[in-house]
């Protein structure tokens, strides 16, 4: 099957091509789902792009799309589902919701925006099988999941007993394989565990009340583990003290704790709060951005707050419990999970007239605009925690259009306006930079060599946008989207449902750990380790995963 997309302006930063700037148009050729070098062979189908902007399919490296906490959110927020019923003209009756859309709606809404790959950033091992079943029901998207590690009692016990790095690495490798994960996520390192022992906060150097292990130790040990196992994505960290004014110091200390090793700081906006001013809540975005700029080993995503009703769902039960008083509507769910992790689900309405919410909005944008290297910052709202992913087009306009941004800012809480330097920031993102943030850079940080670009050999996941000076309008819809070379969206409407794949990473590890895992599961968890493990055939309705083999370094 050969396709030809004719006359597009190709925007492909990974390969240094910018047809938007140069004004040149060219064809893109696809053979059996992959992009190939141009030939003069007859194509089975041709699509005239009429000079539209062509990019690789979008990649969201942090969006909560599956797992038990999302179902708890759906259960708790039936209001969201009822307020956003199925859209007319869909394939079936199974789409709806905005803050917590169904699997079907997630796949369709993302595809309409030109996204074709999305990673679930907080899969709990105990719930991994369920998360994979759910991901298999998301159409149009390739997925993958980061395994939440570091708060589990097995790991905490290892550290408390002074286990060597090799032992830790074997455990991490076993868990990645058993749960079919792609990367390691740490959520509030050790804090979720400490909350089970009734600790209510956990600083970077505070000892766990039971194990006496510090978050710093958790972090540095797991950073070493993923490095030595050769996992492509660095530790994906949701740091200590989420949402707490003054957590800027923790964030800065966390960056220093890496000692130059790679680390991804996720939803950095929630970790960039100072305590200045009469409200004891201020922006530390400038300080933190400066630190990020100075440390090339650090990458970040923002977790931008967008105004309106949403629901927050996190493994960070300690923080979610602390914030449950802010729930709107007033209800929340919390759960300790299986000697493994936890979750907290709190509905939230971000209000533009609220000082704190308005400043959170501004802090996120300050980070976007003050972090200089577009290859190390990613466009996220921490869906749905800062806002639903469907707000991305609006967010892109905020980044690309200073007048628009300042006009929005002028409508917000007055005190918040006085506490942000946003109005003075002149930077406007270019289209190329947006393409880096949403395509090229995430592919690079995830180690997905055949994604995020349009060179020969790339998976033919392609988004075509008609250029529009109103960037929100431009990114709100797509002229065409191709998934594996199949046209799935035409003129903004999903025309076909594609079955995606799930990316998993497969590191080498010392398999003698299996015996100890069996003992642990038998005695402590009360489940057989072999039933905890997920077979390849359990993924994607039997199709199995797409495996990325890891080249470990000598330990």
């Amino acid at each position: 099957m050969r396709l030809r997309l004719k006359g597009g302006r190709v925007l492909d930063p990974a390969n240094g091509e910018n047809g938007v700037a140069s004004g040149t148009v060219r064809d893109i050729e696809i053979e059996d789902g992959r992009i190939v070098a141009a030939t003069d062979r007859k194509a089975d189908a041709e699509y005239d792009l009429g000079g539209a902007v062509v990019m690789a399919g979008g990649i969201d490296l942090h969006s909560h799309i599956a797992g038990g906490k999302m179902n708890l959110a759906r259960l708790l927020m039936q209001e969201d589902r009822r307020a956003f019923p199925e859209m007319p003209g869909n394939f079936c009756g199974c789409g709806g919701g905005r803050a917590v859309p169904t699997a079907h709606a997630t796949g369709c809404r993302y595809a309409e925006l030109g996204y074709t790959t999305v990673f679930e950033p907080a899969m709990v091992g105990a719930n991994a099988r369920g998360a994979h079943l759910e991901m298999a029901d998301i159409p149009n998207l390739d997925t993958g999941a980061y395994l939440v590690l570091g708060n589990d009692d097995y790991f905490q016990r290892l550290l408390a007993a002074g286990a060597g790095q090799e032992q830790v690495n074997a455990y991490v490798g076993w868990m990645i394989e058993a749960t079919q994960a792609f990367a390691i996520k740490i959520v509030n390192p050790g804090g979720i565990n400490a909350f089970k022992f009734n600790a209510r906060k956990m600083d970077l150097d505070e000892a766990n009340p039971h194990y006496a292990v510090t978050p710093r130790k958790v972090l540095t040990t797991l950073i070493r583990a993923v490095t030595e196992l050769g996992l492509p994505h660095p530790i994906h960290l949701h740091g200590c003290n989420l949402g707490v004014p003054g957590n800027d110091e923790t964030t800065l200390a966390t960056i220093l704790a890496t000692e130059g090793r790679r680390l991804h700081l996720t939803h950095l906006q929630f970790h960039s709060y100072g305590t200045e001013g009469d409200k004891r809540f201020s922006s530390s975005a400038a300080r933190i951005a400066e630190m990020v700029n100075a440390n090339p080993n650090i990458s970040v995503d923002v977790g931008q707050v967008m105004f309106g009703q949403t629901i927050t769902a996190s493994a960070d039960y300690m923080s979610q419990y602390r914030n449950r008083g802010l729930a709107s509507p007033k209800k929340s769910i919390g759960m300790d999970i299986e000697l493994d992790a936890a979750c907290g689900v709190v509905p939230f309405e971000y209000k533009d007239k609220s000082f704190v919410n308005a400043l959170q909005w501004a802090i996120g944008l300050e980070l976007f605009l003050l972090v200089e290297d577009p290859w190390r910052i990613f466009l996220t709202t921490d869906h749905p925690n800062g806002g639903p992913f469907t707000t991305y087009p609006h967010l892109i306009r905020l980044l690309m259009d200073r007048d628009f941004r300042n006009a929005q800012l002028a409508t917000l809480n007055k005190a918040a306006q006085a506490h942000t330097l946003l109005a003075q920031i002149k930077r406007e993102y270019s289209l190329e930079e947006v393409a880096i943030l949403t395509r090229a850079a995430p592919a690079r940080i995830l180690g997905l060599k055949d994604k995020g670009h349009l060179g020969p050999g790339a998976v033919a996941d392609i988004a075509v946008h008609t250029e529009d000076a109103d960037r929100e309008a431009m990114f709100s819809t797509t002229r065409m989207v191709f998934k594996n070379g199949r046209l799935i969206v035409k003129d903004g409407v999903v025309v076909e449902l594609a079955q995606g794949t799930t990316h998993v990473a497969r590191p080498e590890f010392d398999r003698s750990v299996d015996k100890d895992m069996q003992r642990w599961f038998d005695e402590a968890v009360g489940l057989k380790s072999k039933h905890f493990r997920i077979a390849d055939g359990e993924l994607r309705h039997g199709a199995g995963p797409t495996i990325l083999k890891c080249e470990g370094v000598a330990s």
């Binding site: 199925e86 709806g96 169904t102 099988r129 419990y321 759960m335 999970i337 489940l527 997920i534």
Partner: protein, 411 residues
């Protein structure tokens, strides 16, 4: 003679407790569980070397293919189908939702009453809950409300009270508020410090306990037949616990919704100063898994209707009994056990366990295999977090629900 094959570490999908250490002997078509196994699992896993029943249409023996065609015709002409029973594994649940999308229909599980009593509390205020391995290792005070749950979950206390929990220490406390622990529970709790307080009104007792735990002494000398001072003592124990857990079986309690609400409030109070969680019991025949799948596919839990490309949820109107009043076709699906369909005047398509005894011959009967006996499958445990892979114990001679539904859809 077939050889006896002994299979270890068999996972069990019947009651929702998710035991996965069963030993089963298979001899040709015969299956029998040895140990460890609870009486219900032993009964439901037992298979004799008997021939499978054939599919039937209007009582006449038919091929599976023709039965599927007949079912397709009935559904194609149906005005308001109810897809009920839903004792299915995850693949069967997905197929049932596909069927509802194709032909329209209300989706409910036959054991959903308890689930929705709990949801009355969970959806209004939310709750703070916990899972099996946490209870097993952390819980130092367990409050069991209602009757001894061992009759339904034969190995519950064995699973929750291992010889050496990681954190709970020795002398773990178990408070039965309601029925007395039976012989089985007492044996499994031999290492624990068990106390029983009979009550005539668990809701009143639980509510008073909640107030006392919050430091308020409600007016009155006794609550639900339990002396106020006794309850004050229990409140003190709960407050001093490191990790208290409240458990109940809402399906078994007429006022299960109120028990769930009071238990939730009690646990909320406890968490202000110490740690605690609710651990609601349930989970029969993969109801939790089916409910999970509905939530991610339709955005609604069970008791949801799919009509005209949209779905809507109503916990009262779309409960089986109420929905049957408006339905003209009942698709009854029960793969785990021979659960007969409820009394119904309209047409019945039964995708059912081969041993099902029908009060009234269904219009179409398609016998299906059992997940975890005849074919592999996935089921969720009662806590909605952990799911288990069930293996096949013998060669399947009957289709799975997923296969049978697919044939019906194809017509």
């Amino acid at each position: 003679m077939a050889e006896v094959q002994t299979i270890h570490d068999v996972a069990c999908g019947f009651c929702g407790l998710g035991c996965d250490d069963l030993t089963v002997e298979v001899e040709g078509r015969q299956v029998r569980a040895t140990a460890p196994v609870c009486p219900e699992a032993a009964r439901l896993l037992r298979r004799l070397d008997t021939a499978d029943p054939m599919a039937r249409v209007a009582g006449e023996v038919n091929s599976q293919a023709d039965a599927a065609k007949a079912a397709h015709h009935i559904l194609a002409a149906a005005r308001a189908p109810l897809i009920g029973g839903l004792g299915v594994d995850m693949a069967g649940a997905g197929a049932a939702v596909d069927l509802a999308i194709r032909f329209g229909g209300v989706l409910d599980h036959y054991a959903s009453e308890g689930l929705f009593r709990n949801y009355a509390a969970a959806q209004r205020t939310g709750w703070l809950s916990t899972t099996l391995a946490e209870v097993r290792n952390r819980c130092d005070v367990l409050l069991v409300v209602g009757d001894d749950p061992s009759a339904t979950w034969g190995r519950l206390f064995e699973r929750l009270f291992p010889a050496t929990p990681l954190f709970a220490g020795a002398n773990r406390r178990v408070i039965f508020l309601g029925g007395a622990p039976g012989e089985k529970a007492s044996a499994q709790l031999a290492g624990a410090n068990v106390v029983h307080h009979a009550t005539t009104d668990a809701v009143a007792a639980l509510e008073a306990l909640g107030s006392l735990t919050a430091g308020r002494r409600p007016p009155g000398g006794s609550f639900g037949g339990i002396d106020a001072d006794t309850l004050a003592g229990l409140a003190e124990e709960l407050r001093n616990a490191h990790y208290a857990v409240v458990t109940w079986n809402a399906a078994d309690l007429g006022d299960g919704d109120l028990v769930a609400e009071r238990a939730t409030a009690l646990v909320d109070t406890l968490n202000v100063t110490t740690r605690a969680g609710v651990f609601p019991l349930g989970g029969r025949d993969n109801i939790i898994g089916v409910n999970q799948l509905l939530l991610w596919r339709l955005g609604y839990p069970l008791r949801t209707a799919v009509r005209g490309q949209t779905s809507s949820h109503d916990g009262t109107l779309f409960a089986t009994e109420a929905a049957l009043a408006d339905a003209d076709v009942l698709v009854w699906i029960s793969a785990f056990r021979p659960e007969p369909p409820p009394d119904f005047g309209g047409k019945i398509i039964a995708l059912a366990h081969p041993e099902t005894v029908f009060d009234k011959e269904p219009d179409v009967f398609i016998p299906v295999g059992t997940p975890g006996v005849d074919h592999a499958g996935t089921v969720f445990r009662m806590d909605s977090i952990v799911s288990l892979p069930l293996g096949a114990l013998r060669v399947a001679t009957l289709p799975s629900v997923a296969e049978a539904v697919r044939r019906i859809a194809e017509g």
